[in-house]
Symmetry: C2
Subunit: 350 residues, 2 copies
DNA sequence: TGCAGTTCTGTGAACGTGCACAGTTTCGAG
DNA sequence: CTCGAAACTGTGCACGTTCACAGAACTGCA
C-alpha cells in the first residue's frame, strides 16, 4: 500500500492487513454534511436536500463506502439473517434432492428480501448444542425448519426464544407455529386410486419415515384409498426415504407376498430402489408389477420406465416457508398454515 | 400467549416482543463484579479469582446470559462467518451430488472451528451484484469458492477486498489464491488406460465443462493415455456435467461412430446418461461397450451394471478448502495448493 | 413584519462488547 | 517489616451505526 523506502524493511506482523473501511463519518466529512444526513440518505429516508444528496453520492463513490453490518445489527437489534435448519443425517442431505430444492427456493425468496441464509445441519448431539447456542446468540432473526421430528430439542429452543419460525411439514408436538405442507394424505389417496384403476388386485406399499407427518400421512392416504381391500401384510415400513431402503424392502415384500402386482413407494428414491429389486427378481415394470412413487424428483425421470408419481413443489415449499418467516418479521399475524397444490404425474411405470 | 382479561383488549403493535436479553452488565451487577471481569471469564482469559468465577457462573445461569454476537463482531472487526460461493445454475446445484458433499464437508470443518457458513449462490447478473455487496459488507471473514469460471467477477471482488479465500478447483485467471484439487489429469489418464487394457479398440470420450479446469484436465488425461490411438472424432463435448447432456451426446456419438466400443464420460451423471442412450440403442454394457465415469458419486452405485469410475473425495475437498481459509484467518502464510488423492474404483460397466 | 408550518440539518446518546490501562490486593523473599 | 512482582479488578474509550431531539432555514399567508 505504502511504498516502503528501500532502506527500511517493515515486517508486517498483522495477519491480514485488510484495508480499513470507510465509515459514515468519512463520507460525512468528505461531503461536508453530518452523519445523520448521510444515514438518512443511505436508508432512503425523507428530508435530504438535493444538494446534500449529490454531495453524498459523490463522496460515497470517492471513499468507497459500504455500511458496516455489524454496527447496524447492533443498534437495530436484528441480524438480517434467517437460519435454515435441516434435521437429517448428512448422507440424506446429499441423496434427497428435495432438500436441495427446498433450500434453493428459500434462499431465493430470502435474497430478494435482502436477507441472508445461514445453513444449520443438525446430525449429532454436539450439533444440537452448537445450533442452540447459535440461535441464542441473536445471529438470526428467524428460522426455517425442515424435517423436524417429534420431540425435537431444537424446536423447543426456538419456541423458548420466541423466534419467528416456519416449518416445512407439520411442526412436531402441540406447537402453534406456522408451517407449509402439501396434502400428503390426499395425494397418496389419489395416486393409489389411480394405480388401482389400472386393474391391480394386490397392491402393497413401502412406507417410510413413519415418525414424520409426511410418512404417516402417505400411509394413511394409501389405507384410505384401498378401503376394505387393504391388506396389512402388504405394507413394508422403512426408516428413511432412501434408495437402498426401497430396494431391501421390495425384496422382503416379494418374499412375503410373491403375488403383489402393484406398489406405492413413499418416495421416488424408494421407488427407484424397489424397481431395481423387481428387475433383479425378474419382474417386469409395469407388465408384472405397477410402481408409483412420490415427489417427482430427479429420480422419477431417471428410472426406466419413467416413474408415475406425485409432483411435489419442493422449491415452492422452501419459498413459502421463507415468505412466512419474512411476514412474521414484518410483524404480521401469528401462526399460518399454507398448503401447496400437488398433482399426479402419470408416466409408464404403472 | 398472554391470557387477555375480557374487559381490556390490549392490541400489541410491536412486531415481536422478544424478551430483552441479558448483557454482560447485568451479569456483572448480579455477581457483584465489574464488566471487565465478566468479559475475561467469558473469553477464558487469566486473572479471574475463584470466588469471582463462582459468582459469575451463578449469575450467568440466573440471568440467562448469552454474548451478543453483533456487538462482539463490531468491536473485534470480524464476523466469525465464511461465505460458500457456488457459481452454478440452480438446477445443477440440485442435480450434482458433488456440490452437496463439498458443502457438507466445508460446513463440518467450519462448525468445528466455531465458524458459521453463509451460502451464496450466483446464478444471474443480479446475484453477482448482490453477492459483491454482501462480501463488501464485512459479513464474512473469508470465502470458499466452488466452480468459478474464467473471468469471474466475484473472484475479482474477493481479490480487491483482500479477503482470505480458497478455491475448490483451480482459481481462474492468474490469481495467486489458495486452492484444493484432485489430479484430474492423472486420474483421467489412469482410468482410460485401465479401460484400454480391457481390449477396447475404439475408445471415445464425452467431455464436459471444457471452460473449467476440471473438464479440460480430464480431456487432457484422456488424450495422453491414448497417445497415437487418439481419434479426435470420437470426442463429444457438452457444456455441463449433467445426465441429459450425457444421454444426448452418446446418441450423437453412436451415430457418428457406430463402431465405438469404449466410452470415458467426464462425470458419473454423464456416464449414467450415456448408459441410458446405449441401452436405448440396443448396446449391452459392458459386453458391447465399456463405460467408465468420474466422481464415484451416488450415480455410480445406482447404474446397472455398477459404474467403474474415479473416486473423488468430495467432502474432503470441502473440508480442505475450509481448513485453508481458517488457516489464513489465523494469519498463516499465503497461497497454498493442496492435492487430494483419488483412486480408480473398478466395477462392472467396463 | 410576524408567525406558523414544513423541510432540512447537526449533535449527543445509545447499542453491547473487548481492550488498554491504572489501580488494588496478595504473597514470598530478603 | 519492606519491597517488588505477580495476581487480580475496575473504568473509560472505541467500534460504526441509528434514532430522538433541538434547532435552523425556508415557505406561504395574514
Amino acid at each position: 500500500m505504502s511504498s516502503a523506502s528501500p532502506s527500511t524493511v517493515s515486517l508486517v506482523t498483522t495477519p491480514t492487513p485488510r484495508p480499513k473501511r470507510a465509515t459514515v463519518h468519512d463520507v460525512a466529512v468528505e461531503a461536508g454534511v453530518s452523519r445523520g444526513t448521510v444515514s438518512r440518505y443511505v436508508n432512503g429516508e425523507r428530508y435530504v436536500s438535493a444538494s446534500a444528496r449529490e454531495a453524498i453520492e459523490a463522496a460515497i463513490l470517492k471513499v468507497g463506502y459500504v455500511p458496516n453490518t455489524a454496527a447496524r445489527n447492533l443498534v437495530m437489534q436484528r441480524s438480517q439473517a434467517v437460519g435454515f435448519i435441516v434435521h437429517e443425517p448428512h448422507s440424506l442431505f446429499v441423496e434427497d434432492p428435495n432438500i436441495g430444492e427446498i433450500l434453493l427456493g428459500a434462499n431465493t425468496a430470502l435474497s430478494e428480501a435482502d436477507y441472508q441464509m445461514a445453513v444449520l445441519i443438525v446430525d449429532s448431539e454436539r450439533d444440537t448444542e452448537r445450533v442452540a447456542r447459535y440461535l441464542s446468540g441473536g445471529l438470526v432473526d428467524g428460522v426455517i425448519i425442515v424435517s423436524a421430528r417429534a420431540y425435537d430439542p431444537i424446536s423447543r429452543v426456538v419456541e423458548r426464544l420466541n423466534l419467528p419460525a416456519a416449518y416445512v411439514g407439520h411442526p412436531p408436538g402441540a406447537s402453534t407455529a406456522s408451517f407449509v405442507t402439501i396434502d400428503n394424505r390426499g395425494s397418496a389417496r389419489a395416486i393409489t386410486e389411480r394405480l388401482a384403476a389400472t386393474g391391480r388386485r394386490r397392491i402393497g406399499m413401502i412406507a417410510a419415515a413413519l415418525d414424520r407427518d409426511s410418512g404417516a400421512d402417505r400411509l394413511a392416504g394409501f389405507t384410505e384409498a384401498l378401503g376394505d381391500r387393504f391388506d396389512e401384510r402388504l405394507v413394508e415400513p422403512v426408516a428413511l426415504y432412501s434408495y437402498s431402503a426401497g430396494r431391501d424392502a421390495m425384496q422382503a415384500l416379494l418374499e412375503r407376498a410373491p403375488d403383489v402386482d402393484g406398489v406405492f413407494a413413499a418416495s421416488d428414491a424408494v421407488a427407484a430402489g424397489a424397481m431395481e429389486a423387481l428387475r433383479a427378481a425378474g419382474r417386469r415394470v409395469p407388465d408384472d408389477v405397477g410402481v408409483v412413487g412420490f415427489d417427482d424428483s430427479a429420480w422419477a425421470k431417471r428410472t426406466l420406465p419413467g416413474l408415475s408419481t406425485v409432483r411435489q413443489p419442493a422449491a415452492g415449499l422452501g419459498r413459502q416457508a421463507a415468505l412466512l418467516v419474512l411476514g412474521q418479521l414484518r410483524g404480521e399475524a401469528g401462526a399460518q398454515e399454507v398448503q401447496l397444490e400437488s398433482e399426479v404425474v402419470w408416466r409408464d411405470s404403472a
